[in-house]
Symmetry: C2
Subunit: 550 residues, 2 copies
C-alpha cells in the first residue's frame, strides 16, 4: 500500500546555526539522528528566515507571509487579530494543530477586545496563540528582574520541576539554567563565564527532554486523528548552559574557526558598526567567550539530537513515522563571534540561514530520499508544503500565503521556474541602536535581497551593503560602495522594489474568486455605459422594461 | 466664546468630478451652497483619491490607509476583519459615528466567522459596515438581472417609495431611475439615451432629497451628544437620470468641451487602449452621448447643491453649524468622454482628482476662511484631520493612519514640510480587461505617483505612462517612452519604490510604545551577552544569585 502523509511534525530549534550539524558539514558535532532524517528526506542548503529575530521569524513561519505583510516585526509586537495562521489552514482539513514549546507570540489583546473576542474561548485562545492549540506553550524565557517577570505566564515546566523536588519559585532559572557557584551561591546561566559548568538539573529533567516527553504525551493522546505538532525547542538559545554530560562533551578544540577580518572593523557601514558594538557582539568577539560558550552551544545541539533519536524511535514503535511528514529547522542562527557579532539580527549566513530538512513519508518521495536542494527557500514555504502534502491545493490560498510548496523538491520533480531572490527583513526600532543612529522608529528597518551569488542589505536611509558569495563566501568584504558593483546593486534593488510593490493584503478574495467574478455584475442588473437597450442581451432588461406601475 | 469642533459632517458624493462645481471653475454649473462652504472653509485643488473606483477609494477614506495597506482593492473585495475604521478612532473620543447612504463596503463574512464575531452583535454590525452605525445604509445600486439582485439588501428607500404610493417590487428602479417610455413601457435609466427624460419620481422623493432628509432625521435624534455623520450620496453616479426639473436644467451648450486628442488613440499604451475600448468609453466618445448625459449629470449635481442648501439652513437653525466641521468631497471623478474614456478607473485628473472642501468652525480657522490650498492632499488625510479637530493627537495613531492632518491648512499654519508625492492605485484584476491583456490577477495593478508637475502611472509588467502637467495640463501627451524624460521617470519611480517598502502593517505597536520598550527586557531578567556578573548593575541579578535551593 502506498504510504502517504497523515500527520505533520514540525520541529524547530531556537537560534540553531545552519552549519552546526554534521549533515551540514560540522566536522566535530555528530548529529546522527538529524542526519538520519536528512538521509531519508531532503536537505535544503539555501533556506532563509524572513527575519533574523525570534518573534518576527516565527510569525512568518506560522502565517506563511513576509514580515512586511503580517507586521509582527520584532519580539513583543503582537500579531494582529485576523492574520491567518497554520492552524487556520490545517483545521479545515481535519488536522488538529498543536503546540509544544515556544512561539514567541504576543497576543493582540487590544484587537481582541475591539472585536469582542473572549480570550477564554477556543477561538480566543487560538488567536492569542497564533493559531495553535497550546498543548504546552513555553517560550523558555522565564527571566525575572527588578521590574518583574519577562514572561508573565509561569510555565508548567516550573511546576514539573517543583514536583520532581527542585525547590523554589523559579526552578527554570535556579535548576535548569544555573550551576553551583562558589560559596554556596548560584552561578546563573545568564553570566556566560559559567557556561561550561553543569546545570543543576538532572539531564532527564532539563528543557529539551521535558519538551520531547510532552510531544510524546501528545502523540500518545492524539490517537488516530490527524495532527500537526509544532515541537518547538527553546535550545540551543541562551542562557547557554547545559546539564551534564552535555556541558562537558565538547571543548574549545571542537569549535569552528572564527570567521571575521580586520577589514570588517576598519571602516564599517554605520549600521553594522552599531551592531558590532552591542554587548553580545563585544563578548563573542573575545576568544575566551567563544572557547567557553560554543562548546556548550554544541552540547545543547547534541542533546537535541539525542532527544530526537528518542522521539523518532517512539514514533517508529507506534507506527506513526511512516505517515508523518517531518520538518527539522530553526528560527534563525547565531553569530557566535563571526563577523565580530554575537546573537543574530543581521544578514550574514550564520544569522539568516537556517538548517532545513524535510522528510516526506509518502511513496512518491522515495526517489528523492537523501537528496540535497540548493534552491532559494524561505520560511514561508512551509505552510504551502504542508497543505500540498495533505492533499490540499496551496494555490487556492495564494492570496494569503506568500511562499511556495516544497513538495516538488521532496518528490524529485523540481519546478521549471523557482524564485530567483530570497527576502529577509529586520526591524531594529525596538533597540537602542535606532536612537544611537538617529533613525525614527518607522525607518529603523533593514531589507535583505539575495540570489544564489549576491546578497544585498538595504537599510532605510543608508547606503546598501553588498556581498559576493561566490568570490567571498565568508562575507568579509562589503561591496556596497564599490563602483564596480553598481550593476549588481541595481539589479538586486529592482528585485526588492518589485517585492515592495507586491500584492500582499488582498487576502479576502482568492485569485479564482476574482476570475469568476468578472463580468458578473451585468447579470445582476448593473448595466454600465449602455446607450441603447439593443446593445446588450434582452434578458438583462427583464426586470426593467415592463409596463410601468402607476 | 471661542467656537470649536464638536461634530463632523462628512459629505461624500459619488463620481463627482472635481471641476463640475462653480467654485472649482465650472462656468455654467452654479453651486452656490457648496461655493458658500468653500468661502468659509478651505478649498483643496490637488486632492487625490487612493483609488479611482468606489469601493477601494472609500475603504481608504474610512481606514485612513492606502489600498495596498488595507487590501480591499476593488468593489466587492471585503475589507478584512481587524482593519480599524473611522468609527474605531472616533468612538473612544465619545463621538458616535453614523452612516446615511453609501459605503460600498463588503463585509468579510469568512473572517467574521473564523473569529466568532456574531453578525447581529453591535461589534458585528460595525465590522460589517466598516465601522459605521448604519442609520441608513444604501449603496444606491439596486439593480436586478437574470442572476438576481446586485445588492442583496433591499433598501429602506424602496419601502419609503412604496409608502408614498410608488408601486412595485423595485421602485428604486421603476420610479427613481426610470422615465416614461413609449407605448406604455418603462424607459430605464440604465439606457443612457433616456437620460434627459424626467425620472418618474417626484423630485422631493428622489434619492438625494431622501438621503438629505434622513441626515436631518439623524441630527434631530442625535441631540447633544457629539457625532460624526457620513452623509454619502449615490449621485451624480449612474444611472444618469434626474427628476424634473433637474433633468432639463442644462443643455449640450452648458457642457465643458471634451478633452481628448487623436494622438491619444494613435499608438496608445496597451492598458490605456484596453480601457478606451470598454463599452462606457466607447459610448462617451460619441458626441450624442455626452450631449444627452452630461447635462443630466450636471442636473444631479445641482440637485445636491440645492439639498445641501436645505441641510445647511437646517443646521444653522438648530445651531449646529457653528460647531460642526464639514467636509465636502467625492469618491472619484468621471471621465465623461475626456480622453476617449467613460467611467473612472485610470488616473487622468477627471478621474483621480476630487473636489475637497473643508469647513472648520473653530475660531482658530477664522484667518484662513475662503483660502485655497494647492498642496498634494490624499483621501487618507481625513481621519487624522478629524482626530486633530476633536482635540486628539493623530501622531499617536501614525502606526495605523498613513495620512496627515489637514488642520494646519485649515488654520492658516501650513506645515514647513508636506508630502512631495501623491499615490493612487488601481486593481483591474476583476475586469475582463485583465484577461484580455494576459495579466494574472495578482499583477493586474496600476500605480500612480504624482508631484505638482509630473504624473507617472506604472502598470505592473508594462512600460510607464508619464504626463507633464505643466506643459500639458490636459494630459494629452504620454511621455512614458520619451527618452528625454528618463530622469523624471526615475525620480518618480524612486518615490514609488520607497513607498512600496514603507512600514504599513506594524499596527499593533505605536511609535511611542516602541520607543518606551527599548532596553526594558533587561529589567525583566533577560541578560544577553553578559560574561561576568559585574558587567551589569547588581540589582539585575537580584532574583538570580541567592543561596541555591536544595
Amino acid at each position: 500500500m502506498a504510504r502517504r502523509t497523515k500527520n505533520i511534525l514540525f520541529i524547530m530549534c531556537d537560534q540553531l546555526r545552519w552549519d552546526y550539524l554534521s549533515c551540514y558539514g560540522h566536522p566535530r558535532l555528530a548529529t546522527p539522528h538529524i542526519d538520519g532524517l536528512a538521509a531519508k528526506g531532503v536537505r535544503f542548503t539555501r533556506a532563509y528566515v524572513q527575519s533574523p529575530v525570534c518573534g518576527a521569524s516565527r510569525m512568518s513561519f506560522y502565517t506563511g507571509r513576509y514580515v512586511q505583510s503580517h507586521g509582527a516585526s520584532w519580539n513583543g509586537v503582537p500579531l494582529k487579530v485576523g492574520e491567518m495562521t497554520l492552524g487556520d489552514y490545517l483545521r479545515p482539513l481535519g488536522v488538529q494543530t498543536v503546540l509544544v514549546g515556544k512561539t514567541h507570540m504576543r497576543a493582540d489583546r487590544e484587537g481582541m477586545e475591539r472585536l469582542g473576542i473572549d480570550p477564554g474561548s477556543i477561538i480566543g485562545v487560538r488567536v492569542a496563540e497564533c493559531g495553535f492549540d497550546p498543548y504546552e506553550r513555553d517560550d523558555g524565557l522565564h527571566g525575572i528582574g527588578p521590574d518583574g517577570r519577562y514572561d508573565p505566564q509561569v510555565p508548567r515546566y516550573n511546576r514539573y520541576l517543583n514536583d520532581q523536588g527542585y525547590a523554589g519559585d523559579n526552578p527554570w532559572h535556579d535548576w535548569a539554567n544555573a550551576a553551583e557557584g562558589q560559596g554556596n551561591r548560584l552561578a546563573s546561566g545568564w553570566a556566560m563565564r559559567h557556561a561550561r559548568k553543569p546545570a543543576r538539573v538532572r539531564e532527564e529533567d532539563s528543557e529539551t527532554p521535558y519538551m520531547t516527553s510532552r510531544a510524546m504525551d501528545f502523540i500518545r493522546e492524539a490517537g488516530d486523528a490527524p495532527w500537526c505538532l509544532h515541537l518547538s525547542y527553546i535550545k540551543p538559545h541562551w542562557p547557554y548552559i547545559a546539564p551534564a554530560p552535555y556541558n562537558d562533551m565538547f571543548t574549545a578544540a571542537d569549535v569552528l574557526p572564527v570567521v571575521r577580518s580586520e577589514e570588517e572593523r576598519s571602516d564599517p557601514h554605520p549600521v553594522f558598526a552599531a551592531f558590532m558594538d552591542l554587548r553580545a557582539s563585544r563578548s563573542f568577539s573575545r576568544k575566551e567567550v567563544r572557547d567557553e560558550v560554543v562548546p556548550v552551544y554544541m552540547g545543547l545541539i547534541k542533546q537535541i539530537d539525542d532527544q530526537l533519536g528518542r522521539l523518532f524511535a517512539f514514533m517508529q514503535e507506534r507506527g506513526v513515522l511512516e505517515n508523518t511528514l517531518i520538518v527539522f529547522t530553526s528560527d534563525h542562527g547565531d553569530y557566535l563571534g563571526d563577523h565580530w557579532m554575537g546573537e543574530k539580527d543581521l544578514f550574514h549566513e550564520p544569522s539568516v540561514k537556517i538548517p532545513l530538512i524535510v522528510y516526506d513519508p509518502s511513496s512518491e518521495a522515495d526517489g528523492a530520499r537523501g537528496s540535497v536542494c540548493d534552491e532559494l527557500v524561505e520560511a514561508i514555504d512551509l505552510i504551502p508544503t504542508f497543505l500540498e502534502a495533505l492533499g490540499a491545493d496551496p494555490a487556492g490560498q495564494s492570496h494569503r500565503l506568500e511562499g511556495r510548496s516544497l513538495l516538488p523538491f521532496l518528490r524529485g520533480n523540481p519546478p521549471a521556474e523557482w524564485r530567483r531572490f530570497a527576502i529577509s527583513e529586520y526591524d531594529y526600532s525596538p533597540l537602542p541602536v535606532a536612537a544611537e543612529l538617529g533613525v525614527e522608529p518607522r525607518d529603523a528597518r533593514l531589507f535583505m535581497v539575495a540570489d544564489k551569488r549576491w546578497k544585498l542589505v538595504q537599510p532605510v536611509g543608508f547606503r546598501p551593503i553588498l556581498y559576493d558569495l561566490a568570490a567571498d563566501p565568508n562575507e568579509l568584504r562589503d561591496l556596497g560602495a564599490d563602483p564596480a558593483c553598481e550593476g549588481e546593486r541595481r539589479r538586486l534593488m529592482t528585485a526588492l522594489n518589485a517585492w515592495g510593490l507586491r500584492l500582499s493584503q488582498r487576502t479576502t478574495r482568492s485569485e479564482e474568486q476574482i476570475r469568476q467574478s468578472r463580468g458578473k455584475s451585468q447579470r445582476r442588473g448593473i448595466l454600465i455605459g449602455v446607450w441603447d437597450e439593443s446593445e446588450v442581451a434582452e434578458e438583462l432588461w427583464s426586470s426593467y422594461l415592463g409596463e410601468p406601475k402607476q
